[in-house]
Amino acid sequence: MTPESFPLIFERNTPGRIAVSIPDAGVPDVPLDEIIGATHLRRDPAALPEVSELDLVRHYTQLSQRNYAIDVGFYPLGSCTMKYNPKVNEDAARLSGFARLHPNTPAALAQGALELLWQLEQMLCEISGMHRVTFQPAAGAHGELTALMMIRAYFDERGERRTRVIVPDSAHGTNPASAAMCGFTVVTVPSDSRGNIDSAALRRAADSSVAALMLTNPNTLGLFEEHITEVADIMHGCGALMYLDGANFNAVLGVTRPGDQGFDVMHMNVHKTFSTPHGGGGPGAGPVAVKRLLEPYLPAPTIERDGDAFRLDEDRPKTIGRVRAFNGNFGIYVRAYAYLRAYGPLLRQVSEAAVINANYLLTRLRPFFDVPYDRTCMHEFVLSGRRQKTRYGVRTLDIAKRLLDYGIHAPTIYFPLIVDEAIMIEPTETESRQTLDAFADALIHVAQECETDPETVKTAPHRTVVSRLDEVTAARQPNLRWRPPTTTGVAR
């Protein structure tokens, strides 16, 4: 460690300090070992840091200043939909009636919360073209798992043993991982030269052993599947179901509905499409919407309306069970509900602006990078840094790191896997033309630097709080926690 390293909270420790006030118990004093039993008592207190409240405030405030976020600047991470997170939604989620509502509260005392979820279900059904929604899944991947379990239950009930799930080679890693967690074998189907799923290959793979196709549409190249109806026909023709990975739903709100495209089930990433904050990696929420044929298998409970009353229905004999305790990430759904009510029928403009922004950036950047699948894109597009790599020895990783020096978060890189040196850019609808231009100027400038000053790019970043970090050492010699010094002064 050099003197420049930012201290850990543990390194600010001063014995005797505390950052909270704690009441006296205020009840007759009974020794703790009489209450708990001496054998159950902790001998040494947890070695948590001892700091004052101001120490704590400065530490985490300074950490926040060593971070990047949408509220700080542009975040063009492809496939992540880093749109603005409206402040009023935060106020809504913090209302006592939501934030301080206990999940075991009897339904009669939680009518407002249950109605909010029920109303949100109606809106999500309208937007997706589906019939019912479960709110339990806590994230997109959790939704994938939930959906696949429902698909499995559906075929089990029909007495059909279908063991395979098809994913295209452009799919998110969560798709095959979720399929494996549900006991399916994964079959990968290639993309064609226009970036669609290869329908001839799909036809060859489609047989009575296939349970589902997991498709992202628009796909991870940012392209709408041109033959989506044919794809659905192929899958339904062999008795399989159509699953939509809703990661890219932001492209098509009010334009086309997955239910109308032939999908039977989908998850939505409300932390992408419906503006809830990503929180530095979570929480998200991954509600799953289904057509009628899968409704019996939804996780229990569902939310039902009887006249003016709302209730949790646990009596669902064919349910796959629970995938999470309580009612899902309710606080996230409050935000999503607020977002949808702030747009109402204007929601389609979200997708129109997202698509225009993406095509505008693609138009500006096309001369400077390879574009392996050069079509009109939807809400995002994928460039390749192949040219920069072969001509100047500069990798896409280097380009990404150099962008950080311009105060801009890098795009998603090396995904999708089918594009060499991939640079995946999603501007979202909440960015202005000026911001897009500033980003395009910066990326074009970096592309020029690859030619004129490749060393600067290859050793970037230069202006961040740390320079390029050694990931290999981190993995080879894992140090995943601080350890308290022992009496000899050496870590135990």
Binding site: A110, T229, A325, A338, I356, A474, L480, P484
Partner: protein, 458 residues
Amino acid sequence: MTMSSTWHPHKYLPMTVEDRDAMLRVIGAQSVEDLLADVPSGVRLGRPLALPPTLADDELLNHLRSFADRNGHADKLVCFLGGGAYEHTIPSVVWHLAGRAEFYTAYTPYQAELMQGELQAMYEYQSMLCELTGMDVANASMYDGASAVGEAAVMARDLTKRDQVVVSTAVNPQYRQVLRTYVRHLGIDVVELPYDAGRTAPARVREACGSRTAAVIVQSPNVFGGIEDGAALAEAARAAGALLVVAVAEPISLGVLQPPGVFGADIVAGEGQPLGNHLSFGGPYLGMLATRDAYIRRMPGRLVGVTHDHDGRRGFVLTLQTREQHIRREKATSNICTNEALNALAAGIYMAAMGKNGLRRVAEVNARRAHYARQRLTAIPGVRAAFDGPVFNEFVLRTPADPERLNEYLAGRGILGGLALGRWYPELPDGWLVCVTEARSRAQIDALVDAVRDGVRA
């Protein structure tokens, strides 16, 4: 549609009609319809979305307040309800810091050099959780306690190459439901072990375990609030070559209770909500997952590790990612991607705010006030403790009144009563799980006692 089509200004959309038309010209498109040409006409939605009308902010907040006000939340009713989520005092400092937009509007820290704040905060959270649980390593969070238990079972299967888990019925029923859902298609059998007198008997564990048993799953304090004999359970599991998974639904208890790492747990899976996170009708919460060093490479979820930069400064990165789905796809340890980072951040800030002495003291207040409440409530004629033995901040009473009816009565007296256990445990139709944290004053406890005395008579 042409360039002149209507465009409604909206505060979340910087695009003006002029911007739009100018950008379409740069693109070389006549209208946005040109850009949507790949969407086949047969699957287009040929009408506006039938969504309720647009609301301005004041209308929106009033509308949402009308929902919120219909809920019996903890500012309206004095809460004695637990059962997997707990109302603790959250120091103001926690969400003033975790609520900083630099944290909550950030994405997963994929560009480490730009995200040192988040990464360091996660490393600190991992470290503090290790200190709290007595384990070697903790990940940067799972979805919640229940799904963390499900993932722990899968992890135990992978580590032991065995295909059965034994779970105590004194584990929260929702955790057991999620566990069953998680392992159903993975060829893992779940065997339920009946509780005895509100606890898990080590002798029953020894009987139930065999050569197929990958893990024994217990919860402490358990669903009845009872403190399990962790050391004896660990020994029973170990004798069968099985791992001990300890579910912790109330981590504040570890301020005074022997940590699972000390009594021999192999995996700790639990719920981190009580560490500074709001009740929020069930989420977002955070799953805690911690284990031994030897098991790191079978652990699911993100891990932050220390490294250095080119100039020798300490820095932090996401590490050991070859376990994860974006690298290993179907061979990954789990499909988890998005986790509950912000809630873990809040938990970390909470633990740092409490510090070494604060967490112990707050846990003591929980235990003492719960003990006081239990003594006073069981002095009411007809009310008795369902089980003997030590508890932390929750306990089961058997009441002469139907617990659901009693709760309705208490709601009229401004009290959110305990959990009626009959739905989960038919053998306890009169079972009532009462929770008393440091957020309940003596006066509130006394008011509960008075109300219960009247309520059971009514």
